[in-house]
Amino acid sequence: MASSSSSSLSRVVVKSSDNNLFVVNKKVASQSQLLKQCIDNMEEKGTNDVILIPLSNVTSNILTLVLEYCEKHADFADDDNNNQELKQWDHEFLKKFDYATLNSLTMAADYMVTKSLLNLCCQFIADSIKDLTVQQIRQIFDIKNDFTPQEEADIKNENAWAFR
């Protein structure tokens, strides 16, 4: 009895915003600081029940992807030698998504405090917009130009040195 309480939880249940349940083993869940914090808190209280963590901001589609990432990275957590392989996997993983998914994934990584995934997403987005024009960037992110013509002219003027 005593030993089982010290080894404590091995799995948690995570609930997506659209009420689907995902059973996640502890090592995988620990890739997310948010989930890890929940687990640590429960363990401190000495709970032996399976805990349920509701994520009100993350849909099942996106949660599936975050967990896929966490699982892969949990597998590689103790293995320093396969960095290159993991890097390759990360790249292939993100390549599949459109901007909408990428944005949702970034938001989920931010919310679930999965720092390495967040960094990965930010770098991927940065790399994919670095050669685009202002207009193209606005389109991709659906951002409305909120400058007055004068303000826009002022900034262009500041940049004029750099772009002649």
Binding site: C122, A126, T133, D142, D146, E151, I155, E158, N159, A162
Partner: protein
């Protein structure tokens, strides 16, 4: 931007609804210099992030692009250029493309009704994104510019009878963030060796030269003005200079406003035209050029201020009569980017090949660096001066 403060308040979110401002900052901090400038035009929020003072710090942590400053005088104009080096690239394509270049050519006549001929001006040093330009004509004003915001500020010299300017440099107080110009004047009236040199400092925006307290126990004698140019190494809040006369490095701390010395080894004394540089934004480097031998010694101070940490990085047979300067570590430190006579070379960090002919030369498109002189790694400052 007159309504800076309104940036956050009036901002409307669209697609990025829910993504925190931190995440957007984190994306923007990973972009090349030129794209970042462009992104100021996307919307007020993006512009506000880019020009905020915190952005530079975020960028230095996340961005794999490091700018290097180049300059030339062309058609009576000083042209400056910032070239992004991609430090993370695995396949040697460190110089990404012509698009990685941000070019500048300040107008020939300048602000403030001052008649400034840029062809008289040359680059002295760079500090935290600002560049100090000085004229060959003794009492002409200094010009300080931020390449990325297009700002230019002049600092009047105010001629002083009986004195001449022997050295100058730009620095920044790490505590207050204030930029300051240091100048050292030689007193021709005083024939004794005491008080022969006077140091003065001006905080940008103050329009006032102040005497640096305490004496400068240093010898500026052997160095004409020319010797200082392009050798200002700003590191650890201090500007550094090498003196051939006694094989010493003096530094001036812009926070304490005090002169100090950085220890050197006797071995470094050996001949050669010497120049100080900052390697990888962190290390003091001394290059010693033996003109007759076409050879260059490169010394690096592994731990700032610690005498025994000076290490001879390499002795290189050179192609031209110009130093071989280590600039940046790239590919996670596996390689070092060197510059030599306006050309870039890559060397595996652990290798020890003494002839530059066998180093890997990087191809730079002709129209990019044509006649430009490679200066030093620099910083990107998107924030305007607050003076």
């Amino acid at each position: 931007m007159e309504n800076n403060n309104d940036v956050r308040r009036n901002n409307e979110r669209y697609y990025f609804d829910g993504v925190s401002s931190d995440v957007i900052s984190s994306i923007l901090a990973r972009l090349p210099t030129k794209t970042t400038l462009n992104c100021k035009l996307v919307c007020k929020e993006w512009c506000g992030i880019i020009i905020s003072p915190d952005f530079a710090d975020l960028r230095s942590r996340h961005c794999s692009y490091s700018p290097i400053m180049l300059y030339r005088v062309f058609e009576e104009r000083t042209n400056l250029m910032v070239l992004d080096i991609d430090r993370s690239n695995d396949d040697d394509a460190v110089i990404t493309s012509v698009d990685a270049v941000v070019r500048f050519s300040p107008p020939p006549r300048l602000i403030d009704m001052t008649d400034i001929h840029y062809d008289d001006y040359t680059v002295v040093n760079e500090c935290n994104g600002l560049v100090l330009l000085a004229s060959w004509r003794r009492w002409d004003p200094f010009v300080i510019c931020n390449l990325l915001t297009g700002e230019q500020v002049t600092v009047q010299q105010c001629s002083r009878p009986g004195l001449s300017v022997v050295d100058y440099g730009l620095g920044c107080c790490p505590v207050s963030g204030q930029f300051k110009v240091l100048r050292v004047l030689q007193n021709h009236n005083n024939k004794t060796s005491e008080n022969k040199f006077v140091a003065e400092i001006q905080t940008l925006g103050s329009n006032q030269w102040r005497a640096v307290e305490g004496e400068a126990p240093l010898n500026f004698d052997t160095l004409g003005i020319g010797a200082f140019l392009e050798s200002g190494a700003f590191l650890q809040g201090s500007l550094h200079r090498y003196s051939n006369l006694d094989n010493s490095i003096w530094s001036f701390n812009f926070s304490k406003e005090q002169f100090c010395q950085v220890p050197t080894l006797d071995d470094m004394k050996r001949g050669g035209y010497k120049c100080l540089h900052v390697f990888d934004h962190s290390f003091l480097v001394l290059t010693s050029l033996f003109k007759l031998l076409n050879q260059c010694e490169v010394w690096i101070m592994k731990e700032y201020g610690v005498k025994d940490s000076w290490l001879k990085l390499c002795v290189v047979d050179t192609l031209y009569c110009s130093p071989v300067v280590p600039m940046l570590r790239i590919n996670s430190g596996r390689q070092i980017l060197f510059s030599h006579h306006n050309e870039f070379y890559l060397l595996e960090a652990c290798s020890d090949v003494a002839d530059i002919r066998s180093w890997k030369k990087l191809m730079v498109p002709d129209d990019v660096c044509n006649a430009f002189k490679v200066m030093a790694p620099c910083h990107a400052k998107f924030t305007k001066l607050s003076i």
